[in-house]
Assembly symmetry: C2
């Protein structure tokens, strides 16, 4: 299950790379610097697009690290351009792509914590279901919504990507 | 796994009810009709808040129906007020709350389709992972983002809700 979920996270991160293509095309057509979009916010006290992309990457890599015990790649949060965000996405994709099903063997029963929880812990099962998964889609959808809000022509197909369908 | 996932969907839908409380309090404080918020959009060619709430409900109920073979409650999409949206949420919560683990016994291998797929099918496993789950969080997060964009004081804790944590 976890392997499949993180496979889906990888798919979604590859979709983000495609959304950034559309953002750059939109900026070129309108003759503005695409990096201007990275400061866009839906509310003044919410993360801008740049941090939404960073957070999407971080939730994916940290959830995988916490559930497998593997070290996630470190990122200094110094990105200022679309190109640098693409590099971050690729780094997370490489990390997730290197994990195999056996790495998640005891994921559900691991004890997970983080500094802001003040010593409290969650099981891997609860953590992924209640925290990792909702947070990943929260930041991912904010990336999409911010682009859409700025006129970038992304649609539901860009969000979901190719579906595993067949004729019966 | 599916039972746990739909338990999480129920939790998230109950959180939406709390976001609507904050939306109504915000409207009262600013002396406007809270139902005005329901027409708010992030982009002119994207669903307004009203339809984002309807869609969040629909993805949850239809995914559960497709994976269990149970009939989902029908909704005529006639809501125009926050109060009516709350009723819809309660209806979906009642449906999801009535499902038990055994109902999902063959969920992963069921054949799932919908009219717009033109005859193509997905396994229940692929459908949930690639379509139901991402779509649920897509519309849910848009509900949150639209409220936030309109100044409603929702935060990450309102999004995630209470976490199952304990002291080690």
């Amino acid at each position: 299950m976890y392997e499949a979920m993180f496979g889906q996270f990888q798919k979604q991160l590859r979709q983000v790379d495609g959304w950034l293509d559309k953002a750059e095309a939109h900026a070129k057509e309108r003759s503005f610097d695409p990096n201007v979009l990275l400061a866009s916010r839906l509310a003044p006290d919410q993360f801008p697009l740049l941090k939404q992309v960073q957070a999407t990457c971080d939730v994916a890599k940290l959830a995988a690290a916490r559930l497998t015990g593997k070290d996630a790649p470190e990122h200094a949060d110094t990105e200022t351009t679309v190109a640098e965000l693409r590099t971050r996405i690729q780094s997370v994709l490489a990390f997730l792509g290197g994990l195999v099903a056996a790495d998640f063997a005891d994921a559900a029963t691991r004890s997970v914590t983080q500094p802001r929880w003040e010593g409290r812990v969650m099981t891997g099962h609860d953590y992924f279901l209640e925290h990792g998964l909702p947070n990943f889609y929260f930041h991912l959808t904010h990336v999409y919504a911010l682009l859409r809000h700025n006129g970038v022509n992304v649609g539901k197909r860009d969000y979901l990507g190719q579906l595993t369908q067949r004729l019966p």
